[in-house]
C-alpha cells in the first residue's frame, strides 16, 4: 500500500502488515501499531510514548470515528509519534484528516488510479479557512476564522485607541 507522505516520511514499508496488538509487558519501542476505529485508547495509554507510529483504520470513508481517535490521541493523550489514516479515505477528506491530527494517509495502490496523488494534494488547496478553533493546519486550511477576526479586532483597537 503506498503512503501519501505529507508531513514527514512514515518510515513504514509500503506493504507492511501492521500488528493490531503488542506485548504490554515489554519496554522496548513499538515500531507501528494498527488501531481499529473502535479502539479503547485507555488500553494503550501507558505504551504511547514507546509507539513510533499509529495507523488508524478507516474501513469505509463514511465512517468518521478515526477523526475523533486522532483528535483524542493528539489532544487528550499527547501522542506525538507518527499518525496515519489508513484505508478507505478519499481526497475530499484529506484536509479533515490533517486537521484532526493525522500526518499522512495510506491508501491502497489501486485507489491511486482514480484518486491520483495529484488529486490528493489538490484537495488540500480547496480551503484556506476553517471555522473550528484548534483545527487550523499549515498544510491545509491554515487560518482559523474566529482567531483571525479577534486579531483584526485587537489590531483595530490598538491602531486607534481614541476611536469609538
Amino acid at each position: 500500500m503506498p503512503t501519501l507522505e505529507l508531513i514527514r516520511p512514515t518510515g513504514v514499508e509500503a506493504d507492511a502488515t501492521l500488528p493490531l496488538d503488542f506485548d504490554a509487558s515489554r519496554n522496548d519501542d513499538i515500531e507501528a501499531l494498527r488501531l481499529p476505529p473502535d479502539a479503547d485508547l485507555s488500553q494503550i495509554e501507558d505504551a504511547l510514548p514507546r509507539i513510533k507510529s499509529i495507523f488508524v483504520a478507516f474501513d469505509a470513508f463514511t465512517d468518521g470515528r478515526g477523526f475523533s481517535l486522532a483528535r483524542l490521541l493528539r489532544q487528550r493523550y499527547g501522542y506525538d509519534g507518527l499518525l496515519v489514516a489508513d484505508g478507505q479515505l478519499i481526497p475530499d477528506q484529506f484536509a479533515f484528516a490533517l486537521q484532526c491530527g493525522f500526518d499522512a494517509v495510506r491508501v491502497a495502490e489501486g485507489e491511486l488510479k482514480r484518486h491520483t496523488p495529484e488529486a490528493w494534494t489538490d484537495a488540500l488547496d480547496a480551503f484556506d479557512l476553517t471555522y473550528q478553533r484548534g483545527y487550523a493546519v499549515a498544510a491545509g486550511p491554515a487560518t482559523n476564522i474566529f482567531d483571525a477576526r479577534l486579531t483584526a479586532m485587537e489590531a483595530g483597537q490598538t491602531a486607534d485607541p481614541f476611536s469609538v
Binding site: S68, Y131, I145
Partner: protein, 548 residues
C-alpha cells in the same frame, strides 16, 4: 440580520469551487456514485423520484429580501417556477439538473447563501423560533447563538462523517417553544441561571422518524462560554459510540436510550473535562460582534392605535388568525400562510416570493422568516401598515387566514416527489383542507395541528401533530394510520396510535368525526389537545371508528 464578512464570503466561495470540482469528477468518473453521494448530500443535493432535488439552507429560517428574490430567480431559471419551504425552514427545489447545480450554488453565494449541510450525516442547518427577536416571551434573541452554531458546524473536520444526520434547534422562549427543541438531536433553550445570568439548557436525544423520542435534559445550565466545548464533547461521544451497524439505529436518540441518560451524561462530562475548553470556545468579543447584527430595529414611537372595526371582514379574520403580538407596542408579527388548499403545503411560486420580498422591504425591515410549519413570517410590521401588507398578500394570492388552524397542515412531499415515501401525502392534505374549507368552521375549531408523513421517516412530524397521519402501503394499496394527542411544544408528547388504518376517503370522514366529537365535548376555552388529554384515548378512538 447577519452579514458575511470577508471570511464567511471566501469560505462559501471555496465551497462552491470545491463542489464544482466534485461534480466534474463525478461526471468524468473519477468519483464513483458511492463516493459522490455523501459529498453531494453534504451540499444539499438529493437524487429523488423524478429528478435531483436541491435543498438550500435558510439558516435559522431568516432571509433578506434580496435573498428571497434570488430564490425566486433560481425557481424561474433552474426549476419549474416554484420552491418548497421545508419543516427545517429550508427551501428546496425539486427539478434542477445536476450540471446546473454548481451555477445555482454560485448564484446563492452572491447573496451570502449556500446549501451546505442541508443533508448528509453531518450537523444540519440549525433551526430556530421564527418569532426570534420579536416575541414578548423571549429571554434573549436566539439568532446570534444560531449563527454561531452555523459557523461552528460548517465543514467540521471531526464531525462531517457522523453515524447519521444531526439536527440542532434553538429557542429563546422556553415557555413557548416554537422550535420543537424536544424533537431534535440537540435542543437548546435560552434560560436564566441562579444569579440571573443567561445560559443554555441542553436537551439531547429527541427525534421523530421511526422511533419517536422526546429529548431529555443533558445539562440544566451551560454557561455561554462553555457551549461550543460542551457540544464538541457531546458530538465526540456520539461520533465514537453511535451505532453504525444499522442506519435505523444510528441517531443519537438510540445511543442515549441504549446507554442511559446518566451514563451518557457521564461520558460527555468526562470528555468535556479533558478538552482544552479555552482553545475551542469563542469569546465574548466575537459573540458580541455577531449579536450586533441582530440588534432590534429602530422602532417608531408614534404609531397610532389602529381601528379594526372600520376594516373589511376578510381583513379582520386574517388579523385574528395570522397576526400575533409583538414585543414593541404599535408593531405586530405577521404570519404568511403557504397553505392554499390548491397547492402543496409550503409551496410558493417565484412571483409570490418576489411579492413577499417587496412587502418585507416596504413594511418589515427587508427581512423574512421561514417557519418549521412551512409558512413565512414578517416579524416587524407597524400595525398601521397591516392593511397594506394584507392588500399586497391578496394581490399575490397569499392571504389564507388559517395559521395554527386545521387548514395549516404540515406535510412532507410524499410519493409525489420523494423516493422514500410509501404513500401520497399532499393529496391527503388537500382533501382535509377542502373538507374544512369554511373559515368560520376553522375558526370555531380553533388551534389544531394536523401533520402528515408519507412514510415512517416522519418528515411531516406526524408523531407530534394534534392529529398525526402516517401514510403506508400494503400490497400496492395506500392506507393511513392516525395518531392523536401529539404536541411539538414545551409540553412535548408523542401522539397515541389509534387502531387499523384508513383509505384516504375513510380517513377524511374519520377526522371529521374526531373534530365533531371534540366540538361537542369541549369546555370553554379548551383546545383540541386539552379535550383529548382530559377525556383520554378510548373516547376519541371510539369517535374515530364510529362508522367503521
Amino acid at each position: 440580520m447577519y452579514r458575511y464578512d470577508e471570511f464567511d464570503a471566501t469560505f462559501v466561495e471555496s465551497r462552491v469551487a470545491q463542489f464544482r470540482g466534485q461534480v466534474e469528477r463525478r461526471l468524468d468518473g473519477r468519483l464513483s456514485e458511492a463516493e459522490f453521494r455523501p459529498l453531494r448530500l453534504m451540499n444539499g443535493l438529493y437524487l429523488q423520484l423524478h429528478a435531483y432535488m436541491l435543498r438550500v439552507a435558510v439558516p435559522y429560517g431568516t432571509l433578506r429580501s434580496d435573498q428571497l428574490r434570488m430564490l425566486a430567480h433560481l425557481a424561474d431559471r433552474y426549476d419549474k417556477g416554484y420552491g418548497h419551504v421545508t419543516t427545517r425552514q429550508n427551501m428546496q427545489f425539486n427539478w434542477p439538473k445536476l450540471e446546473d447545480v454548481p451555477d445555482m450554488l454560485s448564484d446563492l453565494a452572491s447573496v451570502e447563501m449556500h446549501a451546505i449541510q442541508t443533508s448528509g450525516n453531518c450537523i444540519r442547518n440549525v433551526t430556530c423560533d421564527p418569532y426570534a427577536g420579536a416575541a414578548a416571551d423571549e429571554i434573549e434573541d436566539p439568532r446570534p447563538l444560531a449563527e454561531l452554531l452555523r459557523q461552528w458546524s460548517m465543514l467540521h473536520p471531526e464531525f462531517s462523517f457522523l453515524p447519521r444526520k444531526f439536527k440542532i434547534a434553538v429557542t429563546g422562549a422556553p415557555t413557548h417553544d416554537r422550535a420543537m427543541v424536544r424533537a431534535h438531536d440537540i435542543g437548546i433553550e435560552v434560560v436564566r441561571g441562579v444569579e440571573g445570568e443567561v445560559g443554555y439548557h441542553i436537551i439531547v436525544g429527541g427525534g421523530l422518524g421511526r422511533t419517536p423520542v422526546i429529548g431529555q435534559t443533558l445539562r440544566v445550565f451551560c454557561p455561554k462560554d462553555e457551549l461550543l466545548p460542551y457540544l464538541e464533547a457531546t458530538m465526540r461521544v456520539y461520533n465514537r459510540f453511535g451505532r453504525r451497524d444499522n442506519k435505523y439505529k444510528a441517531r443519537i436518540k438510540i445511543l442515549v436510550r441504549e446507554t442511559g441518560i446518566e451514563e451518557f451524561r457521564f461520558l460527555v462530562d468526562e470528555e468535556f473535562k479533558a478538552l482544552p475548553a479555552s482553545k475551542i470556545m469563542v469569546g465574548q468579543a466575537e459573540r458580541d460582534r455577531i449579536a450586533a447584527y441582530f440588534a432590534p430595529p429602530d422602532y417608531a414611537n408614534d404609531i397610532k392605535a389602529f381601528d379594526l372595526s372600520a376594516q373589511p371582514e376578510a381583513f379582520r379574520k386574517w388579523v385574528d388568525t395570522n397576526v400575533v403580538p409583538h414585543i414593541q407596542p404599535g408593531y405586530a408579527i405577521v404570519n404568511i400562510s403557504l397553505k392554499d388548499p390548491d397547492r402543496a403545503p409550503g409551496d410558493i411560486t417565484a412571483d409570490q416570493m418576489r411579492a413577499v420580498a417587496d412587502l418585507a422591504d416596504a413594511h418589515s425591515i427587508g427581512e423574512i422568516r421561514t417557519t418549521h410549519q412551512q409558512n413565512m413570517v414578517l416579524a416587524h410590521v407597524r400595525q398601521d401598515e397591516l392593511r397594506a401588507v394584507w392588500d399586497g398578500l391578496v394581490k399575490a394570492d397569499l392571504e389564507d387566514a388559517n395559521i395554527n388552524l386545521i387548514g395549516d397542515i404540515i406535510c412532507c412531499p410524499g410519493m409525489d416527489f420523494c423516493a422514500l415515501a410509501t404513500a401520497r401525502s399532499i393529496p391527503v392534505s388537500q382533501a382535509i383542507a377542502e373538507r374544512f374549507n369554511d373559515h368560520a368552521r376553522q375558526q370555531a375549531i380553533g388551534e389544531m395541528q394536523i401533520k402528515i408523513s408519507g412514510c415512517i421517516n416522519a418528515c411531516g412530524h406526524h408523531h407530534v401533530g394534534h392529529i398525526g397521519i402516517l401514510g403506508l402501503e400494503k400490497a400496492g394499496v395506500e392506507f393511513y394510520q392516525v395518531t392523536l394527542g401529539g404536541d411539538a411544544t414545551q409540553t412535548a408528547a408523542i401522539g397515541d396510535k389509534m387502531g387499523a388504518g384508513f383509505s384516504q376517503d375513510e380517513l377524511i370522514d374519520g377526522i371529521e368525526r374526531i373534530v365533531d366529537f371534540y366540538m361537542g365535548q369541549r369546555t370553554e376555552g379548551e383546545r383540541f389537545l386539552d379535550t383529548y388529554r382530559r377525556l383520554g384515548t378510548p373516547a376519541f378512538k371510539e369517535a374515530l371508528y364510529a362508522d367503521a
